[in-house]
Symmetry: C2
């Protein structure tokens, strides 16, 4: 998971635990797929499998929203889609600006998952004058100079930052000053924001590093298992209790 919660010390907002909120979009996606297949009802077990979670967890999650299921039957798909959408605030239109139209910004602008969920790309903004006016995903790029006006004219409260790390904080400050109160940050930097502004971070590099950690661990365990497979080595291993799973060298400095 590429999440990066910031601020908000895990306070449960309006009774719904943060962890549950993070899973609602997952359920919504699974439910939407069922809805398209015209499936009328679904059990917690089935839906949980489709969403990749535990069924007990799913039921408890739904219990925070209210009692929308029917015992012995399951949940009404259409009704649940509506309830979750409403809870997430997706029944209204959310204008969003994307700042930094590089490769990633362009990819985001073209991403279809936004429009289908109540998000509308209101504007694309970039500091490069050469890009100004050029259409990306059918939307003409506007210059950073007009950022404040764009935000205000469109009533934008959610901003996406896809600039290089160096520009992120400055862009963030301007967004916040202009009235944005939620930011999705793709730049590899810790953003400082005033109280009341939400920041979520997506960091591609961090995700890979976490994978690398587990990958390394797997490789180490494998090696250990192989070593242990050799009878003599197994005996030694059983004897000397030291030695970590991987060749984790404890001492020596790197110079």
């Amino acid at each position: 998971m590429a999440t990066g919660r910031t601020h908000r010390p895990a306070t449960r907002s309006r009774g719904i635990p943060e962890a549950t909120v993070a899973r609602l979009p997952l359920y919504l996606r699974a439910l939407t797929a069922l809805s398209e297949r015209s499936v009328p009802t679904v059990s917690s077990e089935e839906l949980a499998a489709a969403a990749g979670v535990n069924s007990a967890k799913l039921r408890k999650d739904f219990s925070y929203l209210g009692s929308y299921g029917t015992r012995g039957v399951g949940y009404d798909v259409e009704y649940l889609v509506y309830q979750i959408s409403r809870e997430l605030g997706l029944t209204q239109d959310w204008p969003v600006v994307i700042v930094g139209i590089g490769n990633l910004g362009a990819a985001l602008a073209n991403y279809g998952g936004f429009a289908s969920r109540g998000f509308r790309v209101a504007a694309l903004i970039d500091a490069d004058p050469a890009l100004t006016g050029k259409p990306v995903a059918g939307i003409p790029v506007q210059h950073t100079d007009d950022l404040e006006k764009i935000i205000q004219d469109n009533g934008v409260s959610i901003g996406v930052i896809a600039t290089p790390a160096g520009a992120a904080q400055q862009v963030c400050d301007r967004l916040v000053a202009a009235g944005v109160t939620s930011i999705l940050n793709f730049a590899p930097t810790v953003l400082n924001v005033p109280e009341g502004v939400d920041v979520r971070k997506v960091d591609l590099s961090i995700e890979l590093q976490i994978l690398a950690f587990h990958e390394q661990r797997k490789a180490g365990e494998e090696a250990a298992a192989e070593a242990a497979a050799v009878p003599a080595a197994a005996a030694r291993a059983a004897d000397s209790a030291d030695q970590g799973p991987d060749g984790d060298v404890p001492a020596v400095m790197p110079a």
Copy 2:
């Protein structure tokens, strides 16, 4: 944060809590910045601020790696960079393949954060024959038909899926069959993988939905606060200790 842990029931891998592992890349980034400024040592307080976390948490995190600090002084920056890099497995070279060279795949291929952290884009793979041979980020795109051969020839164990949702599971199956054991999934689907394979999910749409939830909540509170701004109501609020949905509200309103 855009994370999506899959499988692995929060087992702490080799004594290091999963939550700590997820923060190590954060520390590493902050430390690298310090290193570039030739800062010799840093206190837990300073580093915590730079990484955007609590200092006690940071110290506890480091304590899982060993005692690398000096009391009264702080941590040796270079040494810590090395230790964390080693712990994360970044001292070795990780060949990575990216499957699905659309807007997002291209953005990932161009992303500089990989190379600098021990990750090497070994190959770009796409099912579109029109793309085959075309260079993206200086690397020629190869056709999906050769996927297995590419994985094996390059000894790839980490794969990135940036295909449309419909193709993701199939690509995933082929990657796993070819020997990949860690997958970073950008497609909006739940991937089914056998035991022993790690999947991390990054879902842009989900992140926005979570922001929308909080945004909606903020708007609702604001409205409620406005109503409460009436003197009589304010008096009642100060009196009854109940207080808004979460205790998050600092009493008095600005405007």
